[in-house]
C-alpha cells in the first residue's frame, strides 16, 4: 500500500483527509503512483501533471524520504520505504507567490 500526502487544496478537491492510500501495480515510480492516484481521484487530473505532456506542473514538487524528487525521471524507482508504505510520497505546493 502506497501512502500519498496531498497539499491541502487538493485534499479538499479530492474530499479526503490525511494521507491517501493506494494500491499500485508494478514498479513504484512517480508515474505509476500518480497514475493510480488519478485513477482513484479523477478530479485531480490536470492539477498535478499537465494534461497534454504529463509533466509536473511548475509549482508542484515531489518529495520522498526527505529528498526532492521533482527533477527525477518519472519512471525512476521510488525509494523502498515509499514502495513498502513506510514513508509517504509527498506532493507539495511550491513556495511561490506572496
Amino acid at each position: 500500500m502506497i501512502r500519498v500526502m496531498l497539499p491541502p487544496h487538493l485534499r479538499t478537491l479530492a474530499r479526503v483527509s490525511g494521507k491517501v492510500e493506494l494500491e499500485v501495480e508494478g514498479p513504484i515510480t512517480q508515474r505509476s503512483v500518480l497514475d493510480a492516484l488519478e485513477a482513484e481521484y479523477p478530479m485531480l487530473r490536470g492539477t498535478i501533471r499537465d494534461h497534454a505532456t504529463q509533466g509536473r506542473r511548475s509549482f508542484i514538487r515531489f518529495f520522498a524520504c526527505g529528498e526532492d524528487w521533482s527533477h527525477q525521471p518519472p519512471d525512476a524507482p521510488l525509494p523502498d520505504a515509499v514502495a513498502t508504505g513506510a514513508e509517504p510520497f509527498m506532493i507539495v505546493g511550491a513556495l511561490a507567490g506572496g
Binding site: 497539499p7 487544496h9 487538493l10 478537491l13 478530479m43 487530473r45 490536470g46 492539477t47 498535478i48 499537465d50 494534461h51 497534454a52 506542473r57 511548475s58 509549482f59 508542484i60 505546493g93 511550491a94 511561490a96 507567490g97
Partner: protein, 371 residues
C-alpha cells in the same frame, strides 16, 4: 416574491449573495473554493440552478465546477482544454512568435436554451464549447485563424474575456479579446471575422486603425436590440449600431473614458453604465471618488451616480467582469471592487449601498433573478 442571487468571483474564492426582490437584506454564503481564484461564476438561463464556475490557481491549474442546486453543492467536471490541431504561435512582447499556451478560463457563457451547453473564453485567447455539462470541451478553432498570429498579450494576459450570444440569432456570437479586439461569428462559431472598424488606438498600436490588436476591455448588448453593441475600450467608450461592422465614440462628457466594465440597463436599451478609471497607469477612480456613470441617451451624455458610494480617498478598481444588472422591474445594478466591496443599487443606480465590504478582490459579478 422573487429572489435575487448574486454570484461573486474573487481572488480567493466565490461568494453567493441572496436577497428578496427588495434587495435590502442580504445573506452571504462563502467562500466557496476558498483560496482559489474564481474568475467567473454564471448560471444557465435555461436552468437557473445549474451554475458553472471557473476555478484556478497557478499551482494546480484550471478546474471547472458545476452545481445543479444553485450553488449549495458542486462537482468538478472537465478541465481539459486542448487547442485544436497544432496550436501554433502568436505575437509575443518582444515581437517574436510564442506558442499558444492554455492558462485559465476567464469567462463562461451558458447557452440560453440548453443547460448542458456552455462556452468558455480562455487565456491564451480561444473559445471552447461543451455540450455535455462541462465534462468535455472542444475548441472552436476558426477564431484563432483570424490573424491570431498577430494577437499579442496585454498586461492582463491574452484573454478571451467576454462572450455575447445573440438572443435573436443562435448562429451569431460576439467575443472580446484583450489586446486583440472584438470578433463575430455568424455560423455558430465555425468562422469568424474581426469587427473593429472605427476603433482608434493611437497610443497603443503602430497602426491606430489596425484590423486586430485593439485592447477591448468589455462589450455589452441589450437583448431586445442585439445589433447595438457598447464597448469599453482601453480608452474610449464605443458604440456600434450595426453588429460591430462599424464603431463610433460615445465617451462624451465623462471625466475619463478609461475603464474596464460596461453594462446595459435591463429594460432601457439606451441606458448604459461605466465606471471611469483615471488612466491606464493609475487604475483607480478620478479624484478618489467612486462614481458609476450612467448615460440614458446611449452614450455621450453621462451623469455621475454617487449616492451611497465613497466620495473620498477611494482608490479601488472595478474589473471588467465586475459590473452586472438584474432583470427586476426596478433594475438592479451591482459591481464589485478590487478592495473587496460589492455595491448594489435597486433603483437603476440612483442610490447605492454595500452588500459586503471586505471580500477578496472581486473579479466577476453575475446576477440571477429566481421566481
Amino acid at each position: 416574491m422573487s429572489e435575487v442571487r448574486v454570484l461573486v468571483g474573487t481572488r480567493k474564492g466565490a461568494f453567493i449573495l441572496t436577497s428578496d426582490e427588495k434587495r435590502q437584506q442580504w445573506d452571504i454564503s462563502g467562500p466557496h473554493f476558498a483560496g482559489w481564484e474564481m474568475f467567473h461564476v454564471k448560471g444557465s438561463p435555461a436552468d437557473p440552478n445549474r451554475l458553472y464556475a471557473s476555478q484556478s490557481t497557478g499551482w494546480f491549474g484550471q478546474l471547472i465546477q458545476r452545481s445543479d442546486d444553485g450553488g449549495q453543492t458542486w462537482e468538478p467536471v472537465g478541465n481539459e482544454f486542448v487547442y485544436e490541431g497544432v496550436p501554433g504561435t502568436h505575437q509575443w512582447y518582444d515581437g517574436t512568435q510564442h506558442p499558444w499556451e492554455f492558462t485559465r478560463v476567464w469567462y463562461l457563457e451558458p447557452s440560453p436554451t440548453d443547460p448542458d451547453t456552455v462556452y468558455a473564453g480562455v487565456e491564451d485567447a480561444a473559445l471552447f464549447r461543451s455540450s455535455d455539462g462541462g465534462k468535455t470541451w472542444a475548441e472552436l478553432p476558426g477564431l484563432r485563424g483570424v490573424k491570431g498570429h498577430l494577437w499579442q498579450p496585454g498586461a492582463g494576459g491574452m484573454c478571451l474575456h467576454k462572450i455575447l450570444l445573440d438572443p435573436s440569432d443562435s448562429n451569431r456570437i460576439f467575443v472580446a479579446i484583450s489586446a486583440a479586439g472584438a470578433f463575430r461569428s455568424d455560423d455558430g462559431g465555425q468562422t469568424w471575422r474581426p469587427v473593429n472598424r472605427g476603433l482608434k488606438s493611437g497610443y497603443e498600436l503602430p497602426d491606430p486603425n489596425a484590423e486586430v490588436g485593439h485592447c477591448v476591455h468589455s462589450i455589452a448588448m441589450h437583448r431586445s436590440r442585439p445589433d447595438v453593441l457598447f464597448m469599453q475600450k482601453h480608452w474610449d467608450i464605443m458604440r456600434s449600431d450595426d453588429a460591430g461592422e462599424s464603431w463610433y465614440e460615445v465617451s462624451g462628457d465623462l471625466p475619463s473614458d478609461f475603464g474596464f466594465p460596461i453594462a446595459v440597463h435591463a429594460h432601457e436599451p439606451d441606458t448604459i453604465y461605466v465606471v471611469p478609471i483615471k488612466s491606464d497607469s493609475e487604475h483607480y477612480p478620478p479624484d478618489g471618488k467612486l462614481r458609476v456613470y450612467r448615460s440614458r441617451t446611449g452614450g455621450n451624455e453621462w451623469e455621475a451616480l454617487t449616492n451611497g458610494l465613497p466620495q473620498s480617498h477611494c482608490y479601488v478598481n472595478v474589473l471588467r467582469g465586475a459590473l452586472a444588472v438584474d432583470s427586476l422591474d426596478s433594475c438592479g445594478v451591482y459591481f464589485g471592487t478590487t478592495g473587496g466591496g460589492v455595491y448594489a443599487s435597486a433603483d437603476s443606480g440612483d442610490s447605492w449601498a454595500p452588500i459586503v465590504r471586505d471580500l477578496p478582490a472581486v473579479l466577476s459579478i453575475e446576477v440571477q433573478v429566481l421566481p
